[in-house]
Symmetry: C2
Subunit: 264 residues, 2 copies
């Protein structure tokens, strides 16, 4: 085990990683030369932007923190010491290829038990959401950092709920559970990918429910939501760090009310 | 009947209208003091931003073109001569209140038979889509105007389809028709409001299908899509100017293929 750098240093470095990714992704947004499919059973676009952005991040990581572990969507896992970087260079590739600016670059670092820092960067809109344990969650926009804070919302009938697509819930029994939840809230929004969690941290929406998430889809978003006062767990109320079925809420009372529905 | 101003002059004036609306909407985006409901049978948020933005536009219209007719979402119809302005100050109020930057200010002008110019302004991302008959369609972004052009896409299985919400199609028989169409395309995206039509004009998506649109929801988008080489009609292939069930496609072959499904 090597010495763990302090979070402020790591967070500053993580901003450099996001900058490096943006230099690859942004010129290709709405300007893709090619799309290929990695899934044989369906449409799962992986762009050159995705691969090149992760490569750009990994070069910096391996240069500056060669002992750290890495887990990336595109290039897999590299073993390392007690600190692990978890990367999704373009979360929301379907939004990316459709020209919709709700994708984001996700960068997380965990100590193998807890996520210590996270960044969600949306370079087209110029929004960068970031957080580190004990340091708060912030939106960097237009040259200023604004502290993020979830809003109070105690009951489902006042809540705005978001998820990336109804197709996440196209099979029973999850479809029934989803429909019950969607019927109980004030407003359901589809689309959004990682952007939904950022909006939750900003106090604009109240609840995000998804499933089939990978660790790299959610880890960066955990400190952003938690440092803004929200809560992120799996549907059973356990740790979200491994992905799977995820519920994020800005208000613990709403989290409980939604959990009651999700668990039938 | 008064003399009709030339389109270039009107288009320059329409940009002033969009600027005036943005000065009202943007400071309130993600910063709303209040939300009230105008529908008694459901959740239909109308914000102060919506009303104030339309008022700001109407003041300029009534000062500069007092003889023109106006049809606005918030303040209704004003009779006038052979030119009519059709306004939706915030198309996508649900996106607006949820902090999602896919809403837009829609400004159209028609000669009572054909829409002659249209603007879709998204002031948070800084994108302004605009078009006028015979002058082309453009995206103004970051200080430059870029000509818009729909992309070729001849078959449904290669197409990206978008609509604002699956809840637009939650009743039969439209639900069955929608599901058949969605199953036939490569990728379906939900969310987006007016932004979807702009992405279609930009050549990023291929097909937008919606229903229950008002004239002010669609008129501004007609010249933007058509001047980019696309096609906008109702589901029966007729004029889209009155709203209703709308289909927009970037490629006439795709429009025909989708129409075949929509009409069973």
């Amino acid at each position: 085990m090597t010495d763990t750098p302090d979070f402020k240093t790591l967070l500053a470095f993580a901003h450099d990683l996001a900058d490096a990714a943006a230099r690859v992704t942004l010129p290709l947004f709405r300007n893709l030369p090619d799309i290929d499919n990695k899934a044989t059973d369906g449409f799962d676009p992986v762009t050159q932007a995705d691969r090149n952005a992760e490569a750009a991040i990994r070069i910096l990581l391996e240069t500056n923190y060669p002992s750290h572990a890495i887990c990336g969507e595109e290039f897999g896992t590299k073993d390392g010491d007690d600190f692990e970087w978890v990367l999704d260079p373009i979360d929301g590739t379907r939004a990316f290829i459709s020209g919709i600016p709700t994708w984001g670059t996700l960068i997380a670092a965990n100590d193998k038990s807890e996520v210590k820092l996270g960044i969600m960067d949306q370079p087209f809109t110029g929004e960068r959401y970031f957080a580190a344990s004990g340091l708060g969650a912030f939106l960097r926009f237009d040259g200023a950092d604004k502290k993020l804070s979830c809003r109070a919302c105690s009951t489902l009938d006042e809540a705005i709920l978001a998820t990336t697509s109804p197709q996440l819930f196209d099979k029973t029994p999850q479809q029934d559970v989803w429909n019950t939840l969607s019927d109980a809230v004030q407003l359901t929004r589809y689309g959004g990918d990682c952007y939904n969690y950022a909006l939750l941290a900003g106090g604009h929406i109240d609840l995000v429910v998804e499933q089939v998430l990978q660790p790299y889809d959610i880890q960066a978003l955990i400190p952003i939501v938690e440092e803004a006062g929200g809560i992120v767990t799996n549907w059973q109320g356990g740790d979200a760090i491994k992905g799977g079925q995820i519920i994020a809420a800005g208000d613990a009372r709403l989290h409980k009310a939604a959990m009651d529905i999700l668990n039938g």
